[in-house]
Symmetry: C2
C-alpha cells in the first residue's frame, strides 16, 4: 500500500509487436524496482495495440483508445510493426498518429557512448560521443501530406510535402536552446539542408538566429545533413546539442545509435513539453520480428527510456539511479551473452 | 598533333570556387598523361562560373553558357560555393541547374575502400566496402517546388515538395539493375522510407518489382534510409548496388565517403545515360574555402572522377589505368603529407 508520501502516476503501457513486449517487461521490472524508494507508484494500464489488433479488427489507434491515453500521465511503448502488415500502416496509424495527436513536438534522443561499450569507430572514447538530438516530431516531411496521380500508369506522379511552420519550428528550437544552456558545452548545432530545401531551411535558420538572441551563452552553428552524417563517423565530438527536422532527425539518430554501441542501447522520448497530453517513451529500435520470442533482444534501450520517463514525471533522482545501474551493467558486460530477462534482472538488482 | 587514329573529345571544364581550380588542375594533369596513349585528345573549354562571376555579374549559369555546354561532349567540374554567396544560390543556380537541365538522372557514386586507405571503422577491410550508389538526380525533394507564406511572421508556413514520377523512377531503377547485373554479387538494394513517405516509397517499390522481373539474375532487397545509415557503419558489406532518391542519396553517399577513407577520395558522375546532353563528373566534396589556395586539398576524388569520365566517353582501358594509378598511389601513401600538385604528379607519373 502506498505510504502518504507516495505519488501515483498513471502509466499507459503499449508493448506492441515483435520484441516490444519482451523489452517492455524488463523496463517495467526496473521501474518497479526503483519506484518505491523514490515515493512513486505507477498505476498501469496496458493497451493492446499493434499487428495482432490490426489483423483482428482493422484498427491501429482508435479514437476511443486515443482518448483514454489522453487521460494518462505518461506512456511507455515497446515497438510496433510486423511483416504481415503492409509497410506504413502501423507506423503511420499508430506510432506517428500518437506522436502527432499528443503533440510530441520534441523527439528527444541522447547519443551517448557509455564506458565499456564497443563502438564501431576506431579510436573513439566515451568523451567523444555525448550529444542530445532534439528532433522535431510533429511536422516536416512526416505530415503525410502528398498524393498520387495516375497510379500504376507510366504517367504516375507521387508527391510528398514537407510542411514547416514558424510555430512548430520556434517551439522545438526554443526547447533545444534550453537543453544546450543546461549542458557544460552550451553548443547548439542546426542540421538541415538549407542550400537545397531553401524555404524550410531558411525558416529554421531565421528562427535559430532570432531565438538565439535570447541565449547569448549558447554558441550556435550549422551543418548540412550530408556533412553531418559524415562527421558523426569521423568527428562526433563536434556535436553537443543538435536540433533538426523530423526526417533528418530520424536518419541521424540511427547513425547516432550505431556509433554509440548499437540500436540496443538507444533510448528516446516523444515529449510534449507543454504537458497538454502525455509524453511517450520508447526505444529507438523497431520490433525486430526476426529475433522476437527468443529472449535475445537487449532491453537496455527500453530501460534507458524508462530513465527518461522518470525525468519527465519529475523524479530525476530515480532517473539517475536507473542510468547509473545501466552504466554499471554496461561497464561489466564484456562479451557475455545474456538473455533479455537476465539483463533486466541485473539492472533491476543494481537500482 | 593528333594521329589519324586519335579521337577528339570536347571537354568543358568548370573549375569553380575554393579548392575547385586546384583539384581540377590535377585531374587534367592526369587526363593529359593518359589520353595520348589511348588515342584520345581533349579539346578543352574552360567556363568561368561560380562565386566570382556571381559577384561580378549576378549570373550563376546563364542560358547562353548552358547552350554552349550542350555542345560539349562531357564536363569536368571542381566545386562550387563560397561563404560570401548566400547558401543555395550557387548550389541551385549552377550545380543543380546543370544537373536538371542536362538531364543527369543518374548520380553515380562508387563507395569503395582502396587497400592501404584508413577507414574510421574498426576491423573493416577493403572487401567489406565495395558498393555503387545510383542516386536519382532530377526529381524528388530537389525540384525546388515549394514556397513560403507569411514569411517572417509567427504564422509563416514553409513547404518543400518531393515530386516523383514513374518516368523518372523507372529510368533510374533500370540503370541500377544494369549496374547490378554487371557486378559479381548482382544485388540491388532500394533505400527509401516507404513507411512514412508512403506515396513516393510505394512508387519506388512497385517499379522495383516490375523492372526486377526483367532481371531475374539480380537479387533485390529494401532498407529504410535510417537503418541503412546504421548499416553503412556496422555492416557495409551488406550493400552491393544501391538505388535511392535524390536526398537520401545525398546523405548516404557522404557516410559512404566517410567509411571509404574520406571526402578527399569520393568521386561522382552526373550521368545522362541517354546521351541527349553531356554528362558531368565531379568530386563529391565541396569547395572547402577554409583550405583553398594552400595546396592542401586532396585531388584524388577529382582524379577518380576523371576515370569515371573516361569510362563514359568510351575509354575503359584509360579509365582502368587511372584507377590503377590511384590505387597504387593510395597503397603507398602512408602518413606522408603531400601537396595537391605532388599527389597529382605522383598519380600522373603512374598512368
Ligand atoms: C517506425 C518509424 C515511423 C519511426 C520514424 O521514422 O520516426 C522510427 O524510425 C523512429 O525513428 O522512431
Ligand atoms: C552542393 C549540394 C547542392 C550537392 C547536393 O546536395 O547534391 C552536394 O551535397 C552533392 O552531394 O553533390
Amino acid at each position: 500500500m502506498a505510504s502518504s508520501s507516495t505519488r501515483t502516476i498513471r502509466l499507459a503501457v503499449i508493448p506492441g509487436d515483435g520484441i516490444g513486449p519482451e523489452v517492455v517487461a524488463e523496463g517495467l521490472k526496473v521501474l518497479d524496482a526503483v519506484a518505491g524508494a523514490h515515493g512513486l507508484a505507477f498505476d498501469r494500464t496496458e493497451y493492446d495495440l499493434g499487428a495482432a489488433r490490426w489483423h483482428r479488427t482493422g484498427e491501429t489507434l482508435p479514437d476511443s483508445v486515443l482518448e483514454e491515453l489522453r487521460g494518462q500521465d505518461v506512456i511507455l511503448l515497446g515497438a510496433v510493426g510486423d511483416p504481415s502488415v503492409p509497410s506504413g500502416v502501423l507506423e503511420r496509424g499508430l506510432l506517428l498518429r500518437a506522436r502527432f495527436e499528443l503533440d510530441h513536438y520534441v523527439n528527444l534522443r541522447p547519443v551517448k557512448l557509455f564506458p565499456g561499450v564497443r563502438t564501431p569507430l576506431a579510436g573513439v572514447t566515451p568523451d567523444d560521443v555525448d550529444m542530445v538530438v532534439v528532433r522535431e516530431g510533429t511536422e516536416g516531411p512526416y505530415t503525410g501530406v502528398g498524393g498520387v496521380l495516375r497510379r500504376g500508369t507510366p504517367h504516375e506522379v507521387a508527391t510528398q510535402e514537407s510542411v514547416n511552420t514558424a510555430f512548430g519550428v520556434e517551439r522545438v528550437i526554443r526547447y533545444a536552446f534550453e537543453q544546450a544552456a543546461a549542458r557544460p558545452r552550451k553548443k547548439l548545432t542546426l542540421i538541415h539542408k538549407d542550400n537545397v530545401l531553401t524555404y524550410a531551411g531558411d525558416l529554421y535558420q531565421r528562427v535559430l538566429k532570432r531565438v538565439g538572441a535570447e541565449y547569448p551563452q549558447v554558441a550556435t552553428d550549422y551543418c548540412h545533413v550530408d556533412a553531418a552524417t559524415m562527421f558523426f563517423v569521423t568527428d562526433p565530438k563536434r556535436f553537443d546539442v543538435i536540433v533538426t527536422d523530423n526526417l533528418f532527425g530520424d536518419i541521424i539518430t540511427d547513425i547516432g545509435a550505431a556509433i554509440a554501441g548499437g540500436i540496443g542501447l538507444a533510448a528516446s522520448g516523444n515529449v510534449n513539453p507543454d504537458r497538454t497530453a502525455p509524453s511517450m517513451f520508447e526505444p529507438v529500435h523497431g520490433s525486430a520480428p526476426d529475433i522476437a520470442g527468443q529472449a535475445k533482444a537487449d532491453p537496455t534501450a527500453t530501460i534507458l527510456s524508462v530513465a527518461m520517463l522518470l525525468d519527465h514525471v519529475g523524479a530525476p533522482e530515480a532517473a539517475r539511479r536507473v542510468e547509473q545501474a545501466v552504466s554499471a551493467d554496461l561497464a561489466e558486460r564484456g562479451a557475455a551473452v545474456r538473455s533479455t530477462p537476465e539483463i533486466g534482472d541485473a539492472i533491476a538488482k543494481r537500482v
